[in-house]
Amino acid sequence: MNRSTDHEFDQRIADWLEDDPNLAPRQALDTVLAAFPSIPQRRTWRAPRRFQTMSVPIRLATAAVIGVLVVGGALYLARSAQPSVGMPGPTPATSPSAAASPSQASAWRLTGPPAEDRGFNGITVGLLDGRVLTASGGRNASKTAELYDPRTGTWTATGSLHEGRSYAITVRLDDGKVLVAGGDNAGSNGSSAETFDPATGVWTVVGQMTESRGQAFAAVLSDGKVLVAGGGMDVGLKKTAELFDPVTAKWTPTGDMIDGRAGPLSALRMRDGRVLVAGGFADDKTSAEIYDPTTGLWAATGKMDVQHVDEQTGIALTDGRILIAGGRPTSADLFDPTTEAWTASDAMDASTDLTACVALPDGTVLLVGGGTSVTFATTQIFDPATNLWSSAQPMTRTRYVRSATLLPSGTVLVVGKLDQRWTRAFGRAIRRRLLTHGTARTAAAPSDQPIVRSRRGLATVIVLISASETPASRRRGRKVSLRYV
């Protein structure tokens, strides 16, 4: 077989594209130059100027419409804000309004956004003390880090990383510190590693990985060591794996994977201590393999039923099975470690490709977000007892979701990136409304009700779902509707 090499292939594609025309027709230039001066530029605050140029009847009509909207909006906000003022209970389960109806118990709320837009490539980790760390990422592989405090609903800056990173490997160690390693910076993968100590807010360099890696798999093993495997960006996919010992801060190679593979997807530790890696970015996206820490070797296991094309997410269920979801197929894959067999789940209500999932205290799994939807981002709940998915209240129009973290109060913090078009169209009105809520709540209930704030283009969203009020546990297999507050 005369298969061309990668370099030869790249060259042929580049040559083929190079032969295409590079000069625009003169007519195109003339058209643009003639047309653009007559097109008004869109500016954020141009309404008043245009208002002055309107004719009197249009001005009166516009003023009337604005007046109706302002009065109606004020009445609506005053009414909807009333129940929360003076409410002492932090969680919906204990609040009078939550107890009244399960459908009112869960709701989406915007909370304080991080100061920095970390795009799709930052890291977010829940800490043992209930706070949430977000760091790195963004357009320029940031070094900064911030901590979210659920009691105040605000993010505050903490110590900066030693090295800027993008798509870094991240795990929370057993002692509560956070290990961050590798990632991408200036177009190449790095090998350095550092840990974050939540008690001091300080990052400490912990040596170098044996190889540079970006978008690799990582999991904390039963003995506290960290398994890191695969990775790769523009270059080939890596098969190699290595172990990090937090006690000695040393990295040592371990057995190679069978297939080259990259994330983003966490390696998932099973009950018996072995680690499953499935799909991800690989030549065969249905393939899966298992790492055995006792032997340091990988072994192939059954292939998934469905192919997760783009970014997928996975989680270990309380019954020992592993759930792989997202990546566009309309069903999820379930792996049974005892039989090493995959089965497809019940059909999901929406196909999503950039999702995050989190285990809720009652054993159900909340799957949030989605990258291809042009409507509201989906929220779905998987119940392992019935293998059924049920829809929940969609989030605000979050196109991509980076992480979902369970907070001590039973709420879930979701960090994502809002659809710019949505924020442009509705951001101002909703921001005003949310600010009103935030003021009332901050004054009346400074417990763990979040200060509600929003910012264009980037927002953090909290969905309130308590352990006792998880909709799927009450309404298995049925659609549920959570009230958007």
């Binding site: 061309s4 594609i13 027709p25 954020t44 960006m233 970015f281």
Partner: protein, 184 residues
């Protein structure tokens, strides 16, 4: 693009924007043509992108990022064009039957045809990633930033696109190899 020129255009300076258009239009057209493979549609997409750039320029946050932002507008305009009603275009390639054709020339023409055919089978999103990667030489992280997608998605699109193009090229290579082995 000079940031000063962009900043002047952001304030509504038509002369500044005319200068920007004059220097950027060829690059926009080249990008659009490679994605759409159609001169008329490429022209439409280029015009739409540049007019959209003028309209939304005051909302550009960072003048230094103008080029990447403009590329994104061009790609989005290409998506719109590609998803529009398909035009019926007769594509006829004239074969010079009377002239002696060397095997290399014939092979080159066949390769181009196969690549063209395979490229047209790709989705507009995949085409955009291929062009940005192989023609403009952007790294995947830059492509992801330009298109506003995660790098994993960019890589996935490139992977599947390249796989299809490689299949077309390898099939072409095999057919020529077998024809050369065949006795005259």
């Amino acid at each position: 693009m000079q940031p000063e020129l962009v900043e002047r255009a952001m304030t509504g300076d038509t002369d500044a924007f005319a200068s920007i258009v004059s220097s950027a239009i060829d690059g926009c057209y080249a990008l659009a043509y490679r994605i759409l493979r159609d001169p008329d549609r490429a022209q439409d997409a280029t015009q739409q992108a540049l007019l959209g750039a003028w309209r939304d320029l005051p909302n550009l946050r960072d003048a230094e990022r103008f080029d990447a932002w403009l590329h994104r507008l061009v790609v989005n305009a290409c998506y719109t064009e590609a998803r529009g009603e398909r035009r019926h275009v007769a594509r006829v390639r004239l074969l010079q039957m009377d002239l002696p054709t060397s095997p290399d020339v014939a092979r080159s023409v066949a390769t181009r045809d196969d690549l063209n055919h395979a490229f047209r089978q790709l989705s507009p999103e995949q085409r955009a990633v291929v062009v940005l990667y192989h023609h403009l030489g952007y790294p995947l992280t830059e492509i992801a930033e330009t298109l506003g997608i995660p790098v994993g998605t960019a890589r996935s699109r490139l992977h599947y696109a390249v796989r299809q193009l490689r299949v077309a090229l390898d099939a072409n290579d095999r057919s020529f190899a077998s024809s050369e082995e065949r006795p005259a």
